[in-house]
């Protein structure tokens, strides 16, 4: 009887330890996220895509593929659910806005959701003060259909502006850096939904 108890105790202890180490490893991975590296990658490859990765410009759009490359350059680790091992071995979460969101929404530090109309009115408190270089911003139709992904690359002091880089679909005219988010939002329907994917808070 004593032996059975001992074995059960050992198994439960092992399980708890393994679970806590998994959580620990996970947190470590995000705390190592280097915003400068993500931004540097974004600025380097915003207008001329990195040929090491497949370009999805004519296959539905390259926005999320580009964002994935940026956050990967920042140090977010590939996993069995989020990876790029070549053009024929890539996860949906790496290249599709909806899958990227599904994968990261419960893993990142904060995942605020708001409508574009609210974002415009509360710009300074809801976006300027919250988004940091290396964070991700996504858009969906009001019905939830995911549409687009961008990466934040900077902010200024003179006009409460936040800057982003992006890839797009069908034309290289939609690939750019130093985009001004405050003004960009004015060109999008007020009913669109915005998702702030704030990767981490702490150092």
């Amino acid at each position: 009887m004593k032996n059975v108890k001992r074995i059960l105790f050992s198994i439960s202890t092992a399980l708890i330890l393994s679970l806590s180490s998994t959580i620990g490893a996970f947190a470590d991975d995000y705390s190592n996220y280097n915003r400068n590296n993500a931004v540097s990658y974004a600025n380097s490859w915003a207008t001329s895509p990195n040929s090491a990765f497949k370009n999805y410009i004519y296959d539905g759009g390259d926005c999320t593929n580009f964002v994935s490359q940026c956050v990967y350059a920042g140090g977010l680790p590939e996993t069995s659910s989020w990876y790029y091992y070549g053009s024929k071995n890539v996860s949906a979460s790496w290249i599709m806005a909806q899958s990227f969101r599904d994968y990261y929404k419960n893993k990142v530090y904060d995942n605020t959701v708001l409508t574009n109309s609210i974002a415009q009115v509360t710009w300074a408190s809801s976006l300027y003060s919250k988004l940091w270089p290396g964070d991700v911003i996504q858009y969906s139709h009001a019905n939830g259909t995911m549409l687009h992904s961008q990466i934040i690359t900077g902010y200024d002091s003179g006009s409460k502006s936040t800057y982003f880089a992006q890839h797009g679909a069908d034309s290289y005219n939609y690939f750019y850096k130093d985009g001004n988010l405050k003004y960009y939002l004015q060109g999008r329907p007020a009913s669109d939904t915005i998702y702030l994917c704030r990767i981490k808070s702490g150092a």
Partner: protein, 176 residues
């Protein structure tokens, strides 16, 4: 005697106006100096925070930097000239057009949703209208003032009289 009184009044008015101008200029200079000092602080604190690339965005330091950025932007607003607003409007329209183009392209992902299409059309109309007003203002500046005032009175269009600041305010109004 009357002339002397008139002269005194004129001198007084001139002195008051001069003092007023000097104090306004002085206040503007003070604000500009303050902006310069705060911007130096902002840049220095920002560089320090972001040095390693791995930093705490919820720390008091990080919050203070964004707060300082907001403070500088508010002060900058006080010193903006019409030229500044003109440049800002140009940038604003450029990036709003980028947002508009992306939104148009995304329509195919939204099954060409009619409500969204209607919003996009309204935004485009607003941006076009602002472009037209800017064009009219530029024409007015380059053409003879007399010819413009005649054309204004004929067309009844006084929209090119709006200042760039007013056009910037119009830019932020919801598209209708």
């Amino acid at each position: 005697m009357k002339n002397k009184r008139l002269l005194k009044i004129l001198v007084l008015v001139a002195v008051v106006t001069a003092i007023g101008s000097i104090s306004v200029f002085g206040a503007q200079t003070n604000v500009k100096d303050k902006i310069k000092t705060l911007t130096e602080q902002f840049n220095s604190k920002k560089a320090k925070l972001e040095k390693t690339g791995v930093y705490d965005t919820e720390s008091q330091d990080a919050k203070n930097i964004k707060k300082l950025g907001g403070q500088i932007a508010d002060l900058t607003e006080q010193t903006k000239t019409e030229d500044d607003y003109a440049k800002e409007l140009e940038t604003a329209l450029y990036w709003a057009r980028k947002g508009l183009e992306d939104s148009k392209n995304e329509q195919k992902l939204c099954n060409n949703d009619k409500d969204r299409k209607s919003s996009i059309d309204k935004i485009e109309k607003k941006l076009n209208s602002l472009d037209e007003k800017i064009k009219a203002k530029k024409n007015k500046t380059s053409n003879n003032k007399f010819i413009n005032s005649v054309s204004d009175s004929v067309s009844g269009n006084a929209s090119d009289n709006a200042t760039y600041k007013q056009l910037m305010d119009e830019f932020y109004k919801p598209a209708e």
